[in-house]
């Protein structure tokens, strides 16, 4: 009954890619900020690489979103229109031509993406200037890092909340998508930094092993959020939701889900790390674990979004 009635936005792979890159950028930014706050000198490689990755990963995001719009020339309407209507939703805030709708994750997300992009650029610029031999404006970096950190969390999590605020059966009763997307952002952000550092070589072993310990922790959170999501879908008790859940867990998306999101994305990297990979932080092992986390992080976001849109 319900599933046949509902429609889907049918967002293409480009949007999944944005969800993935946005989360990765947010995760990398937060890691860099915290490492910078605790010991900027010792974790210098992680701070540098984290801010570079955050900026480079978020760079194509707005482009993907604009390209996907039915009318890309109207992309600014997400933030402003010449004269907003009087009644455009509960808790809609309008100031002059600008509007923000707190209950529309897409509206709030558009603003957060704008804010994060600016701050990610500033952070990357600061480390770039330092790399070029200039002096880091350390106070500015802390301010940018902390404010940007909040935006980073928002950018990583909001796509999950956005999906949760649709009528799609797979999403509407499962409240864990925002949390899941956020922790996937953390694990993939950490993995992206670790992958590049281990490929470049010559970094401080200690920093890298700490980073890998953090990504292992994020992976455990990722597993927990995924389990909670699946349980919430199973417990919803509606035929439409059960059908959508079955599509993901035992239907046409099940192989991608179990193999890509669970085995490659969580179980394998955790097993490799807990099997001694963390302590030694051998570059080859670190690169392998990081690559697996990155693949799995994309797959988990893709497969949930796709299954939810299809059923």
């Amino acid at each position: 009954m319900e599933p046949g009635l509902l429609k889907s936005a049918d967002w293409p792979l480009l949007i999944d890619l944005y969800f993935f890159l946005g989360g990765l950028a947010g995760g990398a930014f937060v890691i860099a900020t915290i490492a910078n706050l605790l010991d900027a000198r010792r974790h210098r490689d992680i701070v540098r690489m984290g801010y570079y990755i955050a900026f480079l990963a978020i760079l194509p995001g707005p482009l993907f979103l604009v390209v996907d719009l039915g009318l890309p020339t109207r992309f600014l309407n997400m933030l402003m229109v010449s004269k907003p209507s009087l009644e455009i939703g509960m808790s809609a805030l309008t100031v002059g031509p600008f509007h923000l709708k707190l209950f529309s994750p897409m509206s709030a997300g558009a603003w957060a993406l704008l804010g994060f992009s600016v701050l990610a650029f500033l952070a990357a610029l600061d480390v770039f200037l330092e790399d070029r031999g200039g002096r880091s404006m350390s106070t500015l970096r802390v301010v940018v890092g902390v404010i940007g950190g909040f935006f980073a969390f928002f950018v990583a999590a909001y796509p999950g909340v956005l999906l949760g605020a649709t009528a799609r059966p797979l999403f509407i009763s499962a409240h864990w998508l925002g949390a899941l997307f956020l922790v996937v952002g953390a694990s993939t952000g950490g993995a992206a930094i670790a992958l590049i550092l281990s490929l470049l070589g010559g970094q401080a072993r200690d920093s890298l092993s700490r980073l890998m310990r953090f990504t292992a922790f994020a992976l455990i959170l990722q597993l927990a959020a995924l389990v909670l999501f699946v349980v919430a879908v199973q417990m919803a008790g509606s035929t439409g939701i059960a059908r959508a859940g079955a599509q993901l867990l035992s239907g046409s998306y099940s192989l991608t889900f179990w193999l890509g999101a669970v085995v490659i994305g969580i179980v394998a990297p955790l097993a490799l790390q807990l099997g001694g990979g963390i302590k030694k932080a051998a570059p080859g092992m670190t690169a392998l674990v990081s690559a697996l986390i990155l693949i799995g992080g994309f797959v988990v976001k893709y497969v949930i979004t796709a299954a939810g849109q299809a059923t």
Binding site: L6, K7, L38, G70, A157, T166, A167
Partner: protein
């Protein structure tokens, strides 16, 4: 705000002639579409960007698969008092009119399609020609000139009625009583209750059976109500992630080591 206007569709009077569907297409100048046969008289299976009105046909069968009743229902955008599409819209293109109806401003919509997935009834459709979202407007141009929507005007049995919501609600309740006296024990209103799901529907229905027979959700939910819970859980996850990073990178006086 002016008095709320509403549409009352009485399924017991529908004869499935689809005059409403045709009138809607004509007035709104919606292009013809390829038929999509569904195995019944219904065409199309869903609302489309060119079909804002849709007469649905349902065959109710018993446990043995024997046909019991044939239901016909002229379906339309519900213009929900709490509208998922309107709340989802990130551009403010979807707005509530002074009559309480929900419209999409075609000059503002940028085609993100979020509203399409946020409608609990699958009403909003994406028009690939204009690259915007479209749906029934209750014939916004007509009702602002006192004409009433084209579908209600065309309906030969007055199955579709249009007017002030409070007046229609009284008539609808009387009609339910009437039908119950005639033996239609499961006659019921869907969406009339302002304290019910979605704050009441401005297109409400009289059904001859459970909503599920007509493919309608028993208790439609405003998807945006999830935003608070989902955000709180996300904040919890963010705190855990932040804490994890603090523990991982804090100075433990010397080399890392677990």
């Amino acid at each position: 705000m002016a008095r709320t206007l509403a549409m009352f569709t009485d399924v017991s009077l529908c004869i499935g002639c689809r005059a409403c569907q045709v009138a809607c297409k004509q007035w709104n100048q919606l292009a013809p579409e390829e038929p999509e046969w569904t195995g019944s008289y219904q065409n199309h299976p869903h609302f489309t960007d060119k079909s804002y009105r849709l007469v649905r046909f349902f065959e109710e069968t018993d446990a043995k698969g024997q046909m019991q009743r044939w239901h016909m229902m002229s379906d339309v955008c519900k213009h929900c008092a709490q509208a998922g599409c309107l709340e989802a819209c990130p551009t403010g293109a979807i707005y509530r009119t002074e009559y309480g109806t929900v419209n999409i401003n075609q000059d503002i919509c940028n085609g993100c399609r979020y509203c399409v997935s946020a409608c609990p009834f699958g009403v909003v459709a994406f028009n690939h020609d204009t690259a915007t979202a479209t749906k029934c407007t209750f014939c916004n141009d007509r009702i602002h000139n006192g004409l009433g929507p084209a579908c209600a005007k065309a309906c030969p049995t007055e199955s579709i009625r249009f007017g002030f919501r409070d007046e229609l609600a009284v008539k609808a309740k009387q009609r339910v009583e009437e039908l119950r006296k005639l033996g239609y024990k499961d006659a019921q209103l869907y969406g009339e209750d302002k304290d019910g799901p979605l704050g009441g529907l401005n297109a409400f229905f009289l059904l001859l059976g459970q909503p599920s027979i007509y493919g309608l959700p028993d208790k439609p939910k405003l998807p945006q109500l999830n935003v608070i819970t989902d955000s709180l859980l996300s904040i919890g996850a963010a705190l855990l992630v932040g804490l994890g990073a603090l523990v991982a990178f804090r100075d433990r006086g010397g080399k890392g080591g677990a």
